[in-house]
């Protein structure tokens, strides 16, 4: 099959991904598709001739080898299933638990058709999983992983943030899956500057599902989402105010606790970036690694599939600021 990329969904992440491919002067065919045809047409007018729009109603019917699904969460599973059956590898940016779990269940189908499925490829999950895997390299045994995220990308991401706050969380706790109410468990989390301190709460986030397969013997894997009081108290209502076009700067924090030579140690890593830009960089990096055959056919999250050191080097070079907490004030 001729190497070519399909991008489904031209929202905040999809359109930035297209711009990044355009700036990188990628020469292979890139096929774009969005439900809003005018959005695709106006974007293609600004791009080189190797960017085209789909000729039919479905992007998976095109001659593509990799499909990036950047459409709103909840719409990924059926498209992915159809794409895999045509031998197309899938990268999904969805951070909805049902999408991630559903994509991971497509493992046997993907193996049958020799395709890769990367679930949760974004800022969080995605980059957070790679940071957790990287931090874990220093440990003999990983005991706990705690992830927190601040900020949202485009309107679809803001809607998913709102939705996640009212749904129960899914955490790995003492060897079993535990669901707790979304919006509970307030914890003041210190993110890298300029975000600094922010109250975070339990929410329906898929990090634990993706990381538990890598760290099955760990006792706790949890994830939290930062939210204001207004977010919390209005989470049970529909979104009353239309979401912003882009949420601006955001951050993630990954805390890994474990043992090294019978000593308990903690490592805290973080990243700062606008979430939509970070997600576009993560997807671009994964696509490049796939094209360079650095990723064998596999189904899983980002941390299952890539070498975390190489991946973090690439995303840092592309503009995501990755940091580690050492407790020493800079001034």
């Amino acid at each position: 099959m001729t190497p070519s990329i399909g991008i489904l969904g031209l929202g905040a992440v999809g359109s930035q991904l297209v711009q990044r491919f355009s700036t990188a002067k990628v020469k292979i065919p890139i096929i774009l598709h969005d439900l809003d045809i005018s959005k695709t047409a106006s974007l293609i007018d600004q791009l080189d001739h190797n960017f085209t729009q789909t000729s039919g109603a479905r992007i998976e019917d095109e001659d593509i080898s990799i499909l990036v699904i950047a459409s709103p969460s909840g719409q990924h599973l059926q498209v992915a299933q159809r794409a895999i059956k045509k031998g197309i590898s899938v990268i999904s940016t969805s951070d909805r638990i049902s999408d991630v779990v559903g994509l991971l269940k497509l493992k046997s189908l993907a193996e049958k058709y020799d395709a890769s499925v990367i679930a949760g490829a974004g800022f969080s999950p995605g980059l957070t999983c790679a940071l957790a895997r990287f931090a874990a390299k220093e440990f003999d045994f990983v005991d706990e992983i705690h992830i927190a995220k601040d900020g949202t990308g485009g309107p679809a991401c803001a809607k998913q943030h709102h939705r996640a706050m009212k749904r129960p969380s899914l955490d790995w706790w003492e060897g079993e899956w535990v669901r707790r109410p979304g919006g509970s468990g307030r914890e003041l989390v210190w993110f890298p500057e300029p975000i600094a301190g922010s109250d975070c709460y339990r929410a329906a986030l898929p990090e634990a599902v993706l990381l538990q397969t890598i760290f099955p013997n760990s006792s706790r894997i949890t994830s939290r989402l930062s939210a204001t009081r207004q977010d919390r108290f209005t989470s049970w209502l529909p979104m009353l105010i239309p979401p912003h076009n882009d949420g601006g700067i955001g951050a993630v924090r990954v805390e890994v606790r474990g043992r090294l030579e019978n000593e308990r140690i903690t490592r805290v890593l973080g990243a700062v970036s606008p979430p939509s830009s970070a997600a576009a960089i993560v997807v671009q990096t994964l696509t490049e690694m796939m094209m360079e055959s650095l990723i064998d056919p596999f189904t899983g999250g980002v941390a299952n599939i890539v070498d975390s050191t190489s991946f973090l080097n690439r995303v840092t070079a592309k503009g995501i600021k990755t940091v580690e907490f050492d407790g020493m004030p800079s001034n």
Partner: protein, 42 residues
């Protein structure tokens, strides 16, 4: 009517106290994290 004014006064008092406490808290707690350095992946 007297009861209504007492209730209103109590409510305003509670709001005023929480505003004062919140202002004092934010004035004394330095909201600065610090201690982050660039991640070394070598």
């Amino acid at each position: 009517m007297r009861l209504f004014f007492r209730g209103l006064l109590a409510l305003l008092g509670a709001v005023a106290i929480s505003v004062i406490l919140k202002a004092r808290e934010s004035g004394t707690v330095p909201l600065q994290s610090g201690g982050w350095r660039d991640l070394e992946t070598d």
